[in-house]
């Protein structure tokens, strides 16, 4: 998708602190416009201005990873990005993962999401959206990560429920690297 016009024409004048400014992004393939003070974080812009509540807000200083979205395809922290910095960019959030299946499978979860369900890779689900958005970028660059590489990438996300074991199993499964697992217990099947 070509960048929006606003991306190619840098702002020549200062955006005033006390005014709201028009910000246009392509959210999950659809152009969306909202208003933002310069200090508004992208995470809050997505949730409160565009109503995309799939992106979670956790620590708001870049540590927990819950707010991770893709900006022009690249996984980044929405809480460490200003909404005005995202003007003209493509933003992909967890809502876009299932929508990307058009046609008869529309609305279905992606294979990665299905693997998360099978392997109990989530419990409360607060961290899940961010982890899925990181993985959707990371697995494109590294389609068959080793467990060590995967755990290194996951160090950018805090999950307090699963202990990461289910997440690792889900990714190993969906990348074709794991033995078949029992879908109920998550145990490796007896061979």
């Amino acid at each position: 998708m070509p960048p929006l016009k606003s991306a190619a024409t840098p702002v020549a004048s200062v955006l005033a602190a006390d005014a709201r400014h028009t910000v246009t992004v392509v959210l999950n393939g659809t152009p969306r416009t909202g208003q933002a003070h310069p200090r508004l974080l992208l995470s809050d812009f997505l949730r409160h201005e565009l109503g995309a509540h799939g992106t979670r807000v956790g620590c708001e200083h870049g540590v927990c990873g819950a707010c991770t979205v893709r900006i022009d395809g690249v996984a980044q922290r929405a809480c460490l990005t200003l909404a005005v910095q995202a003007d003209g960019r493509r933003i992909d959030t967890v809502e876009g993962l299932s929508q990307s299946n058009q046609g008869p499978t529309e609305g279905r979860m992606t294979a990665l999401q299905e693997a998360f369900r099978r392997h109990h890779a989530l419990q409360c689900g607060f961290c899940t959206a961010g982890i899925l958005m990181s993985l959707s970028d990371y697995l494109g660059r590294n389609p068959k990560p080793t467990e060590e590489e995967l755990r290194d990438m996951l160090s950018g996300h805090l999950c307090r429920c699963t202990g990461y074991a289910g997440i690792v199993r889900a990714v190993m499964d969906v990348t074709g690297q794991a033995a078949a697992c029992d879908t109920r217990s998550g145990e490796a099947a007896h061979v």
């Binding site: 020549a12 991770t68 005005v84």
Partner: protein, 278 residues
């Protein structure tokens, strides 16, 4: 945790950015990746009146090896540098240290120059710059000047950069034939700030160790090679270096533990660097 209010400028050129920075004085800050500045804004540790965004300036998106240096412009992210296919040959120390900078997700936005400008004493990019004998190119509205890495860092989050200057680029010397490099760090969890980080470089005549996370800035010490080998009394030399660094106790580790890391990891990386000379 939301930032205090500020005006926001997305300049069309570096010259526009520098003019705005000169006019804004101490109330203006530049942002590129913002992976250190945004948390400080969110926590209101800094409250600038004007934020000048360098991240979309194509002039600063330069990454090239030329005349013995790898030059990294201010808009180049840590991930972009790490994914450079020739990095392992050009500056192998960077290829070893970059995976330790933050996380995958923050490297995707954080810049190399931003990390150097931020000057956290435990950060990997300032350490690599000092370890390799790199340089920082500073620019304001009137002039450009180049400062050696050893002279750039003054203390925690403090450098010789003036308020009206930006770090336009940083330059790492290309690794010479016959040199060796190694990097290791210890932190609470991978991606956390280093308790102690060690970067070793070895060339034909000397072995050098740069240490981060202990003193108030990355600090380098060199020793001559004796018959192509490390000093016979290296333990004593490392012990003296560890004490001279003068680290403090903090919530992560004691000064004593840090000295022990300098002695142990220091030896390890020096031996690794010596054995992997090319």
């Amino acid at each position: 945790m939301k930032p205090a209010s500020f005006d926001y400028l997305r300049p069309a050129t570096v010259a526009d950015a520098l003019a705005a920075l000169a006019a804004g004085g101490d109330d203006a800050r530049v942002i590129a990746g913002g992976q250190s500045l945004m948390p400080m804004l969110n926590m209101r540790l800094v409250q600038p009146r004007l934020l000048i965004d360098l991240s979309r300036l194509e002039e600063l998106r330069t990454l090239k090896a030329d005349s013995g240096w790898l030059s990294v412009g201010a808009a180049v992210t840590q991930a972009e540098l790490l994914s450079r296919p020739t990095l392992r040959d050009e500056v192998p120390l960077l290829a070893a240290a970059l995976p330790w900078v933050g996380h995958f997700q923050t490297r995707n936005r954080g810049t190399v120059c931003g990390s150097v400008a931020h000057a956290d004493p435990s950060a990997e990019m300032p350490l690599c710059l000092v370890a390799t004998g790199g340089a920082v190119v500073l620019r304001n509205a009137k002039r450009r000047r180049t400062v050696a890495a050893a002279d750039f860092f003054v203390g925690p989050l403090t450098t010789v950069k003036a308020a009206d200057e930006i770090v336009e680029s940083v330059r790492f010397p290309l690794a010479a034939a016959g040199s060796g490099h190694a990097f290791r760090e210890v932190s609470m969890r991978h991606g956390d700030f280093a308790i102690t980080a060690c970067a070793a470089t070895v060339d034909g005549t000397q072995a050098s160790l740069a240490v981060g996370g202990v003193a108030d800035r990355p600090t380098l010490r060199s020793w001559p090679l004796v018959g192509g080998a490390l000093l016979s009394d290296l333990d004593a030399a490392l012990n003296a270096f560890a004490w001279d660094l003068g680290g403090d106790d903090d919530q992560h580790a004691t000064a004593r533990y840090r000295r022990d890391l300098v002695r142990r990891i220091g030896r390890t990386v020096l031996e690794e660097a010596l054995s992997c000379r090319r």
